[in-house]
Subunit: 332 residues, 2 copies
Amino acid sequence: MSVTIKDIAKLAGVSHTTVSRALNDSPLINPETKERIKAIAGSMNYTPNYSARSLVLDRSYNLGLFFTTLHTGTSAGFLYEAIKGVNDVIKDDYNLIVRGIDDYKSFHKVNRKNFDGIIVMSQSESDQSFIEYASDKEIPLVVLNRPVESVQVMNFVPDDQSGAYRLTEYLVQQGHRHIAIIEGKQGFKSTQARRDGYREALREHGISVPEAYYASGNYDLESGHAAMSKLLELPDRPTAVFCCNDDMALGAVKAVTERGLSVPEDISVAGFDDHLFSAFMSPALTTVRRPIEELSRAGAETLLKFIETKHSEKSLVLFHTELVIRDSVKSI
Amino acid sequence: MSVTIKDIAKLAGVSHTTVSRALNDSPLINPETKERIKAIAGSMNYTPNYSARSLVLDRSYNLGLFFTTLHTGTSAGFLYEAIKGVNDVIKDDYNLIVRGIDDYKSFHKVNRKNFDGIIVMSQSESDQSFIEYASDKEIPLVVLNRPVESVQVMNFVPDDQSGAYRLTEYLVQQGHRHIAIIEGKQGFKSTQARRDGYREALREHGISVPEAYYASGNYDLESGHAAMSKLLELPDRPTAVFCCNDDMALGAVKAVTERGLSVPEDISVAGFDDHLFSAFMSPALTTVRRPIEELSRAGAETLLKFIETKHSEKSLVLFHTELVIRDSVKSI
DNA sequence: CATAGAAATGCACACGTTAACAATGCTATT
DNA sequence: AATAGCATTGTTAACGTGTGCATTTCTATG
């Protein structure tokens, strides 16, 4: 059996209440007894029983970090940065529970008793029901990466539109006038934001885009390959292609090389996300970095603050994205 | 307030004991009452209070998945596959807590009360003390990825040596006779195993290796770049280089291209690990796949079984690695 | 018909912690 | 000297669940 506050109490010749107070730094306790008790607790190698504490305090000390899915579509780097960011913030006294939303057969066990707070790293609208469920159960909730409209939550999102804008503007500055886009998955907020940024930049520079330059994709590698293949067959071939994420950019580059052409000599390619591999492809990919780790860190901090103070701004906060210039875009 | 078994008891006109037994499928309870109570519980949207249950049952329903570090050295793919593998196995009633060992200021809160079991994805000997600590506290423990000798634990490890052997043999089969190696971090078990596999294959084929062909590295990208740079300056330049992981292979390829040479035309390169990006580099990397996800799945399964039956083989199990042939090795 | 035994249910306590309230001793103020 | 008030500690109950033992009810057997 492990040691409890009652054991300490016996040894110290006080009541277990006094021990509890002493260990929790209650101002009610005489500083001397407090020290004495702490010393005894230390020497007995005492560790509090969290279950008992949770029961009476009605707090689990669990934080949930939920992803849309862990199976497909979630990039490893994404998971990595998110976990790192959150773990950096929470102290030793919280447990970080990582789960894919689609792994739950039922949300039954997700409730305020089991989770002091929840961070949803949302990648698609499919977890809308989960978000609404958690919000409904009044579990402290912050949603990252994707703007949520149906319910009021703390919501931290990278500013995809301005990232796409700056990237496109950069392409223009490098002398490109024929700039195509390979789009993300239809229906995703991120797809729209990136397209909007692209459009806005071109419009402001007085560049019009032929219909054929809008190539459809779905964020995966193969779709990037297919889309680029089509673009290359165009009579009026673009000199630069903005791929809405790095995965598709990788597929696109592959399509170019397969045709015996080269990036960036024959055609420039840019991506979005700054995946881990992007710096090491050849050519190293010019892209836009999304601050996933910062996002997660900020999310965790806000969540903790909310748990403690019980109030916070439930509003959308945009996070700065950053243009990363490498070697896949040629100046012409 | 949320609903408890006492609320159900009141509504059903029985004692809370009966409710508890009914919900736990005790054979003591009349099947009809059992059904009735379950129905009521369902309609009231009852969820058990895990803290209370934990307190009396002395089980936390928490499983820990611990990495050596989450900061540097842990590849994202590694983390991803491990989490996926474990999460695939545990049912809805366990929480998976993910943490970097070096994030703990003190292991104090790691004990049998807080964790029903622990999986350590060990990447270096620096977590030896953690493993011994957990073993000492008699927390059900399985260590993955790295062989542990100082204590008896369930230990699942990829067979790096045979993987390195097969890869090297493949290089020989492709006609290579001048095969260099870029080694991993000194002191790591994996470094030694891979070097051993490499040596063994060459010895068995009667190929001797000049001292200069042993290039030192430390598993990171830059070290691969540096090591390859040296190898390329050798008067007796190798025709193939076995890099002890994919990260270093990537750096090595970069070093080759920077010199205006090309892989695999001028020099063949092979890696180890089968990182996510490896299939998409150009050229796609020939490498050895380590079954991290299988490892994790098996580890989780064994751990759960141990938790339930309280006994299991505490021994080392090697997992099959797999040669993945792509485009970075030329037949000469 | 009496009774042994099985089946079903309830009572009371335990798990380890916190907290409201009570109690004690002491100091300072009148 | 009486008392108000503060500092410190103790008493007791509570959180929600599971379980050993007692109790009741029913069934079968002689």
